[in-house]
Symmetry: C2
């Protein structure tokens, strides 16, 4: 036997990416075999190569697609006026977007070392572009006097690490709602950049 009934290229392609995403996130790129991905889709391993040239490209497409979507979504986000309003928008956007895509986020932060040098450079460039968006907000906030930012680069890295970490502990249906979480993180970030009353 060969081709299954109801098989279509435009349905199998996305299913392969979805299966790879799930399995890579759960077990890690190196620990997942092409045969496992194929089994999840209900297809033989050879069929995967109709949709991806190799395993490495499969990983790269997932990460590259995720970063591109992230940048596009932030570009399309309504930002409000003033640096503080933009910072709040960034914080809430980042949390919302990341909580909606835990597998993509996990892969994008964990599988960088499994990318070939060229693929790594491409993903890294997108990551820096995203960090640049937050950096621009801090620069403007400092210029306008709305914020008291110390080292901009360090603050960017600190805030992003803090926000992204939400995916490691937040679970839907838990003690806190997503709105609770957004508000709590915004309160923390706000405290980080609006000068404290009197340093000791």
């Amino acid at each position: 036997m060969a081709r299954k009934t109801g098989s279509h290229s435009d349905i199998t392609g996305p299913r392969i990416r979805a299966a790879a995403l799930r399995l890579f996130a759960q077990h890690g790129y190196a620990a997942v075999s092409m045969r496992q991905i194929a089994a999840e889709v209900g297809v033989q391993a050879g069929a995967l190569y109709l949709y991806t040239p190799d395993k490495q490209t499969l990983l790269f497409d997932l990460m590259d697609g995720h970063m591109a979507s992230l940048l596009a979504a932030w570009a399309a986000e309504p930002k409000g006026d003033g640096a503080l309003a933009q910072l709040e928008a960034f914080v809430r956007f980042h949390i919302r977007y990341h909580l909606d895509r835990p597998d993509e986020v996990f892969i994008a932060y964990m599988e960088l070392r499994n990318l070939s040098p060229e693929n790594f450079a491409a993903v890294e460039a997108q990551r820096r572009a995203y960090e640049g968006a937050l950096e621009a907000i801090f620069v403007e906030g400092r210029a306008s006097g709305a914020m008291d930012v110390g080292d901009v680069r360090l603050t960017v890295m600190a805030v992003i690490a803090m926000l992204t970490g939400v995916t490691t502990w937040y679970r839907d249906g838990g003690r806190l709602s997503r709105e609770d979480v957004e508000a709590a993180y915004w309160r923390l970030v706000r405290g980080m950049v609006v000068g404290t009353p009197s340093p000791p």
Copy 2:
């Protein structure tokens, strides 16, 4: 030929752990073979099994040992009086300790999914104990009125994620000294928990 000249059990054991640590951190547990570890030590793959029952235990020992050392080091750290002083001690300790052991930290946060269920539970318990140390500081800080902490658990996770993230970007000999970094992060954390002047 068999046994090499100058080979000793008490020298090979640590060298195996060191090689495994380095390779696991660089390429990931699943991507590193026992033969690669053996080659790094200058020994045949079979010899590794004099020092570890299997690959999984090798990983677990590294992670378990790291968490145990971390807890012991924090317990031995001079903490000072008052919740704010203890928080500063925690921040500085965490950064210093983690910057000194980038490979251990990387493994402890990235290879959890490669642990067997029992081993995972053991490491997770130690992680929770460490988080508990920070949680206790926040609880005391709130009780004494020295801090304005919202959700304690969320704040614990946020601060630890933020601090641990320092290992992803800090490089010795770069623009900032370790003292700069410690001071900058402490400033940020302080702002997160000492009430801001006037919420909008």
